[in-house]
């Protein structure tokens, strides 16, 4: 995908930058918006952000490598984050992750995020999602699935398979 920030998005970002006495503060918000639009944060997105905020590309690049939510590679269209921290682990999150991984033909012994070859799904373990009282929890894109069961997993997989196209 070629890198072109639509004027409407650029206008939104220009407005965001005015929220701070120092433009650099807007970096994280820029990266969120660009990742939402393009599916990941590319080298071009880093350079564009740096240019807009009067920074060196390294100032932005070091954010992308520090903050776990930013991705340098395209993500699956359905992004599944399974919470692995204690309360969810006590409620069976390891078997939930395995269920997703096996259902999608991914490798259960690999650590870190994994994306299906067709780009439909990314599955990963993440740390506590601040919903431990309804463990185990899974985030599917922006939505939280509480007290997640294997049949919830199956529903997520079925509806993710139904979504075509690229991000």
């Amino acid at each position: 995908m070629s890198f072109k920030v639509p004027p409407q998005l650029e206008a939104q970002l220009d407005e965001l930058a005015t929220h701070y006495p120092q433009k650099r503060s807007a970096s994280l918000m820029f990266l969120h918006a660009l990742q939402e639009h393009f599916g990941h944060v590319s080298r071009e997105a880093v350079e564009w952000t740096a240019g807009k905020l009067g920074l060196q590309p390294i100032n932005v690049h070091e954010l992308v490598t520090f903050y776990p939510m930013f991705r340098r590679e395209p993500l699956g269209r359905t992004h599944v984050k399974v919470c692995r921290t204690l309360s969810c682990a006590l409620a069976g999150s390891a078997s939930l992750r395995r269920h997703f991984i096996e259902k999608l033909g991914l490798n259960p012994s690999l650590h870190g995020p994994q994306t299906t070859p067709d780009g439909a799904f990314t599955v990963e373990f993440v740390e506590c999602l601040a919903s431990c009282g309804t463990a185990p929890v899974v985030m599917v894109n922006d939505d939280l699935v509480e007290k997640c069961t294997t049949s919830d997993c199956d529903r997520v997989v079925a509806s993710g398979r139904g979504k075509g196209g690229t991000r």
Binding site: H19, M29, H32, M69, T85, S87, C128, A130
Partner: protein, 468 residues
């Protein structure tokens, strides 16, 4: 039988209660702001005069409110440290990073009653001469961020926020800022760096106390979501009335997050110290007890960074006796009142107010391995003892929980943890060390036995059964 006392969450779960401003105002919303703005100046008995803002700050101090984010520090005292003579702007940042494992209370406020936070913030900003403030919300709460943005624009449209608030001439702007998945952004100086658009590397104190050199090297107040909501109720009720809730030095209400092996996990707002740990776990109004046939093994009382407590542990608490003298009372774990001071006297802390319960089916080695993996992943990497130590702990525990243990591992883990605590820039070092120090000391037999079993299995040439 103790019950919830819902003040902050009074309306949150009522049928038909919605997060929009009309609903909030129908329930008395923004009346506290009007009341605060109309506070008269006052003259103290010693002839000293207080401005309306000083009066409200004084009320917050007198209410006894202690921060609900983790450290339990007096909110009024924290506000009194703010450098008001620097000539620089004063900033306020709401810490909505909620990422201490076990904690899910701020989420309830943000999602169900966002205007309450906004009102608490506007009052707190006004009382501290703040004109620009931020809500730093963790990146994994996108809906929460949208709800807060919506609430802020509704408040602006009604004249509660923006220029010339309610005709008083006071200007304030509040913006939502999203984090991006790093736990260390919850630490207040890491949060400030992150808000400046940098890696969330905590700053060293001194000199970088936020009250003096915070955001953009200006005086800055960082308060937790729940703390700022409490301010709204202190203004409504008055400091004296608020301080009658809870127990001496542990005033008001607090939302307890309860998770793990209980029948009814969830959040419960209690008067601080008016329910015991045993009641929170076993009472039908709260956790409802353990699953059938299970026994209590351990609890983590204040978020994953607090020291674990073992079932059956006894503590010596200082209490006022009948004659008014302080006496030491032996207290069982289950009889510990859930408040800041009792938990501290029990050698741990109530931290973020999050209790994680583990029953007798749980393996303490596996539980600690899980937590140590969290800390290894979340260390920001600035300090060598934390960056390396947290990783060694996680690796040692991973090995011990996957069949590669040695009988000396327990000592090895203690040794590493002891060399992290007290040697780092921020309190994350303690957060990573304390679970290890407490789990290994209190459940030493489990850790040693696990290592021994692995050694024997290796000597016989078999792969231990729990290797996977």
């Amino acid at each position: 039988m103790p019950n919830e006392h819902r003040l902050i969450l009074k309306h949150a779960d009522q049928a038909g209660y919605t997060p929009d401003i009309e609903c909030y105002q129908r329930h008395g919303g923004y009346e506290a702001l009007r009341k605060a703005l109309a506070t008269p100046a006052r003259e103290l008995p010693d002839g000293k005069k207080q401005t309306p803002q000083e009066v409200v700050r004084d009320e917050v101090l007198k209410s006894g409110l202690r921060g609900r984010g983790g450290a339990g520090f007096s909110a009024g005292l924290k506000w009194s440290f703010v450098d008001r003579k620097s000539g620089k702007p004063i900033y306020l940042v709401c810490n909505a990073d909620e990422s201490e494992p076990g904690t899910f209370k701020d989420r309830q406020i943000i999602h169900k009653d966002p205007h309450q936070l906004v009102e608490g913030m506007i009052i707190s900003c006004w009382a501290n001469d703040v004109r620009l403030a931020y809500i730093y919300i963790r990146g994994e709460m996108p809906h929460g961020a949208r709800l807060l943005n919506q609430a802020l624009s509704e408040a602006r449209a009604k004249g509660f926020l923006g220029k010339n608030i309610l005709g008083t001439g006071y200007d304030l702007e509040i913006h939502v800022h999203r984090g991006a998945g790093a736990y260390i952004c919850g630490e207040e100086t890491g949060l400030i760096e992150s808000l400046e658009g940098k890696r969330a590397y905590p700053r060293i104190k001194p000199p970088y106390f936020p009250a003096v050199l915070g955001l953009y090297m200006s005086p800055t107040i960082v308060n937790n979501v729940e703390t700022l909501c409490a301010v709204r109720h202190i203004v409504t009720m008055g400091a004296g009335e608020y301080a009658r809730l809870g127990t001496p030095n542990n005033t008001g209400t607090r939302i307890v997050s309860l998770s793990g092996d209980v029948v009814r996990p969830g959040y419960f707002e209690i008067e601080v110290g008016k329910a015991t740990i045993g009641e929170l776990i076993f009472d039908p109004n709260f956790g409802g007890g353990l699953k059938p046939g299970r026994k209590l093994k351990a609890i983590i009382p204040g978020g994953s960074s607090s020291k674990v407590l073992k079932a059956g542990e006894k503590f010596r608490l200082k209490r006022k006796g009948a004659d008014g003298q302080m006496v030491q009372v032996e207290t069982d774990l289950l009889d510990l009142p859930y408040d800041f001071d009792s938990l501290q006297q029990a050698g741990t802390m109530s931290g973020s107010g999050a209790i994680i319960v583990m029953d007798d089916t749980r393996d303490m080695v596996d539980a600690l391995a899980n937590l140590s993996e969290f800390y290894a992943h979340e260390s920001c990497g600035q300090c060598t003892p934390c960056r390396e130590g947290a990783l060694w702990l996680a690796k040692g525990l991973e090995r011990l929980s996957h069949g590669g243990g040695r009988s000396e591992d327990a000592e090895y883990l203690l040794h590493i943890a002891q060399n992290i605590q007290g040697r780092t820039i921020c309190a994350f070092g303690e957060a990573a060390a304390w679970p290890v120090l407490s789990f290994v000391k209190k459940f030493k037999d489990d850790f040693v036995a696990r290592g021994k079993a692995d050694e024997e299995a290796r000597a016989r040439g078999v792969v231990p059964a729990h290797h996977h």
